[in-house]
């Protein structure tokens, strides 16, 4: 039970960390050369 709660907390913290680090809604990357795509 304790382990289950712990895993839930970790999953939740990852979720929060993910949104807190978000920055852009969209982007356009311009690249060049043979490996560009």
């Amino acid at each position: 039970m304790k382990r289950k709660c712990c895993l839930t907390a970790v999953a939740f913290s990852l979720l929060v960390a993910s949104s807190a680090a978000g920055q852009a809604v969209s982007g356009v990357m311009t690249v060049t050369g043979a490996e560009m795509h």
Partner: protein, 157 residues
């Protein structure tokens, strides 16, 4: 490779990723990779950097990153001498700077007047000092906070 690395990101809507060749030159052509965040998500530019780095793009060629243009949404905050954009729903922030192209000075001045008004703005611009050949451009850590050279903006409320 850069296209795959972008599409692999969890926060990127895979269906939005479009690669387009610009056909500017016959050799060492340029192309654009357009991408959008999934609904309700934001794209982490550090993860984008790491994802491209993970493809181990080789050196010794003329391939590289020409520019990265991003659109961000947030609140303008003025902290002399800089104008910042604090991203809505995130801890991230950007330094906003005037783009060196003609006609952008007036646009930036207009944008900066909105600082401190709690208005939400959508800003588009190039990430400053983020260009170069693979893999050197990826080896250098991006500046924090990143600087956006503003090319357009829209006040959302």
């Amino acid at each position: 490779m850069a296209c795959d690395a972008t599409a692999r990101l969890y926060d990127v809507d895979e269906d939005s990723v479009v690669f387009k060749k610009l056909h500017k030159t016959e050799k060492y052509d340029q192309g654009t990779i357009t991408f959008c965040a999934r609904k309700g998500k934001l794209i982490d530019l550090d993860k984008l950097h790491e994802s491209i780095w993970a493809t181990r793009l080789s050196g010794g060629t003329r391939s590289g990153l020409v520019s990265l243009e991003v659109t961000v949404i947030g609140e303008l905050v003025e902290m002399e001498p800089e104008t910042f954009l604090k991203v809505a729903g995130s801890d991230a922030r950007f330094v906003l700077r005037e783009s060196p192209e003609d006609g952008q000075a007036a646009l930036f001045a207009e944008l900066a007047t909105g600082a401190g008004t709690s208005k939400v703005v959508r800003v588009t611009g190039r990430i400053d000092d983020y260009t170069g050949r693979w893999p050197n451009v990826l080896r250098a850590r991006p500046t924090r906070p990143r600087r956006i050279l503003v090319t357009s903006f829209e006040i959302m409320e």
